[in-house]
Subunit: 324 residues, 2 copies
């Protein structure tokens, strides 16, 4: 049995709790949140401990892994302490709110030797599972060009308004990091990044509400990501041009359309619970050593692309990776 504790019991923390209690090989040991209400909710709903301090949670020997669901700007601190306490970590995306934090966290994670999973749940969405399946057959051949979009209205600003500030939230990247990770997942690592963006509308934010990232991947593929917090027709989709085929997928209606080697087909993959599958992956890693879809390295490299994009916007130039 794997003992897990959750730090940060807002909406995503509660989502993960509901997964953990469904897994036969995991146990929800306890919850820590700065809010008394959140702690009480956890006790009442799940009958689990709530800790008065993070340190208490980290000292609890029944806790094997910590599920970090705080606002992004607190991720690095909580993850570092957990790693230093020898606890395995599942950390929600984005890994950190700032690049400095990502660099510091990398040192801590590497020297600690813990297992660290990044919560890129998009990889567990049926459409992406299907696209991964197609890619893994090798039939598509080399990737030439990938276009990903995530465009819709402003996300709920959330408790404490942390979503208003880039330094607390990683800006538009708080959500768009999913597509940044998907780009790596589809086309490998990025070699250079150029981006444009601006805060066009939402004065409540201190960051870009529209952005386009144009990345050159190490394998030469072209990666394009459009993100918008102002679009009024929601759109979240992908278009993957490869050597022997093309795949178009749409997250909104959960369809994958492809033409590979002259054969055209459309799939509506089976529904699943991506959050449950994701947590199962983490638990399985801790139990069996089988790696999950996204480790620390994936979180770090997505963060690096995001940081490069922001630098590119600020300095109006192409940014070469790696940054460190």
């Amino acid at each position: 049995m794997v003992g897990l504790a959750i730090v940060g019991f807002g909406s995503i923390g509660r989502e993960h709790a509901s997964s953990i209690v469904k897994l036969s090989e995991a146990e929800l040991v306890g919850v820590y949140d700065v809010s008394y209400e959140a702690r009480r909710f956890a006790r009442e709903k799940y009958g689990v401990k709530s800790y008065g301090k993070l340190e208490e949670l980290l000292r609890d020997p029944s806790v094997d892994g910590v599920v970090v669901c705080t606002p992004p700007y607190i991720h690095a601190e909580v993850c570092s302490k957990a790693a230093q306490a020898g606890k395995h970590v599942f950390c929600e995306k984005p890994l950190t709110a700032s690049w400095d934090d990502a660099l510091k966290l990398r040192d801590v994670v590497r020297s600690s030797g813990i297992k660290f999973m990044t919560g890129f749940v998009l990889r567990y969405f049926p459409v992406y599972v299907e696209v991964e399946k197609l890619l893994s057959t090798g039939k598509l051949g080399k990737v030439y060009s990938v276009l990903l979009t995530d465009a819709g209205g402003l996300y709920p600003l959330g408790a404490g308004d942390f979503r208003r500030f880039k330094r607390l939230n990683a800006g538009i990247g708080e959500q768009l990091i999913h597509e940044v990770d998907a780009l790596r997942f589809l086309a490998g690592d990025a070699a250079k990044v150029y981006a444009r963006g601006g805060r066009f509308k939402h004065e409540v934010l201190d960051y870009e509400d529209n952005i386009v990232i144009l990345a050159t991947m190490e394998n030469g593929a072209i990666g394009t990501i459009l993100g918008s917090l102002t679009a009024k027709l929601y759109r979240r989709d992908g278009y993957l041009i490869c050597e022997n085929g093309t795949v178009a997928f749409d997250l909104r209606n959960s369809t994958v359309e492809a033409r590979i080697d002259g054969e055209e087909f459309k799939v509506k993959p089976e529904r699943n619970n991506p959050f449950l599958d994701e947590m199962r992956d983490f638990v399985s890693w801790l139990k069996t050593g089988k790696k999950p879809k996204a480790t620390f390295e994936d979180g770090f490299k997505a963060q690096e692309i995001l940081e490069a994009a922001y630098r590119s916007i600020e300095e109006s130039r192409e940014v070469i990776l790696p940054l460190s």
Copy 2:
């Protein structure tokens, strides 16, 4: 009555001939083509003159305007001679195959005082007519981000294989210039351009078969164009994020979907013959002085963005406009 002669009687020249003969205010006077077969076809099909030399056509006083339908690398020469002969010009896109040619042609056109229309027929497609209508109401407000795609298989390489060589054909821009023009038409002029591209598959070509252009418009909007000559699921669409609304349009099924000021609607605009409407616009300009949708300046500025994109790919940097 406006007398028009066609130079270059391949498929697009024949398309324009079929429009001209339908217009009550225009007359197809004659045709010049280097090919004897093409000249004979014109005589037999339309009972018009065919000239033995371009100069003959340009000396013909019954010719008011010349419709230039040669391969792109000959455009500049024919257009220059026509302008110097005092003939008005309708020139197929792209304006020229090279930036040098565009610069030289600009001087000739400006000093000649002729009317010069660029054949950006995409502007006459029902979907674009509809989008223009929406934009012209002013309800959409400022443009924030535009994404245009034109992705499909390799175009027929055409007579003389001119489509194989960038210096003869403007590369992938021979078709993608439509989207470059559409970007200007939707979001105004570009201030800087960055692009990535490569020849991934088609060894028969000496130019990029996949490209992405990321332009910053003078008004601050972000413009993204994805072009592919290798995609196996054809796609030609647009996504326009504005201050008060978002418009998504699809050229393949001719639909325009929009959400403006909270109201959502979908339009399937009436079918038209874009080539006929385009030629009517040219004839009307010559008769009444009413400007068509795309003049020399539009052809030139699209060419400039394309040239900037190519320079950006070659030099791996952002390119500032204007280039001259």
